[in-house]
Amino acid sequence: MNSLIRTTARCLRSVYMPRQAVWSTSARFLCAAADLQKDLGEMVKKDKVVVFMKGTPAQPMCGFSNAVVQILRMHGVDDYASYNVLEDSEFREGVKVFSNWPTIPQVYFSGEFVGGCDILLQMHQNGDLVEELKKLGISSALLEAGKESK
C-alpha cells in the first residue's frame, strides 16, 4: 500500500498542472481502497485527458509511450494527467484489467477509453484526433497552425 502512495506522489509530480489539493484526497482514497478498480474509475474521469504510460511525459521509458506524448504535444495538448505504471506493478496490472486492454500506453478522453499508441496514431493520421479533442473543448494546435498558413 505504501508503494501505491509513492506512486501517487510521483504521478502527482509528473502531472503538468498543480493538482495537489485534489490529490491529497485521492491519495487517501488509494490508500484506503483495496479496490484499485474503483479508484481508476475516478482517476480517468478527473481529467479530460488521462494517459497511463511507462515513464513520464518528460522522460518516457518506452517508444510507444513516447509516441503518445509526442502526438499529444503536436496537438498542443500539454495539460493532461499522466500516470507512470512502472512505479508499481499492481497498479500496472490494475490499469490493464480496468480497460480490458493488454498493453501500455493507454489513453482516456473524458473518462472514456480511447485506445493505445496504434489507435492514437491512426486517429492523428486520419484527422479523428482533432475532432475528438474538439469534443473535449480542446482546440488542436495543428488546427490553429493550419488556419495561419491559409
Binding site: W101, T103, G115, C117, I119, M123
Partner: protein, 86 residues
C-alpha cells in the same frame, strides 16, 4: 513456449476469418517478444478502430500474455484493396 509468427497468423485466420495477415517479429533479436500485425477481415466492417483492436486482442489473449509489445493495424477487405492500390 515461445510464440511463433505462424501461430499468430493461423489463429487470426481461423478465429477472425482474416483474408490477409502479416505478422512481423519486431523484437531486435527476433526473440518473439514484440510483434507487429496487419489483419484484414470482413468482421471489421462497420466497427470502430477500438472495437477492431479488441477483437484482435481477444483472439490473441493467450499469446499477448507472453508478448511484450504488440502493434496492430486492422483493415476491412475494402480498405485493404484501397491501400494496395495506392
Amino acid at each position: 513456449m515461445a510464440i511463433t509468427v505462424d501461430q499468430i497468423r493461423d489463429k487470426l485466420i481461423k478465429e477472425l476469418a482474416a483474408v490477409h495477415v502479416d505478422v512481423e517479429d519486431t523484437s531486435p533479436n527476433r526473440c518473439a517478444a514484440s510483434y507487429k500485425v496487419l489483419v484484414v477481415s470482413s468482421q471489421f466492417e462497420g466497427k470502430p478502430l477500438l472495437q477492431r483492436h479488441r477483437l484482435v486482442n481477444t483472439c490473441l489473449a493467450e499469446e499477448l500474455k507472453e508478448i511484450h509489445a504488440f502493434e496492430q493495424k486492422t483493415l476491412t477487405p475494402e480498405q485493404w484493396e484501397k491501400q494496395k492500390s495506392q
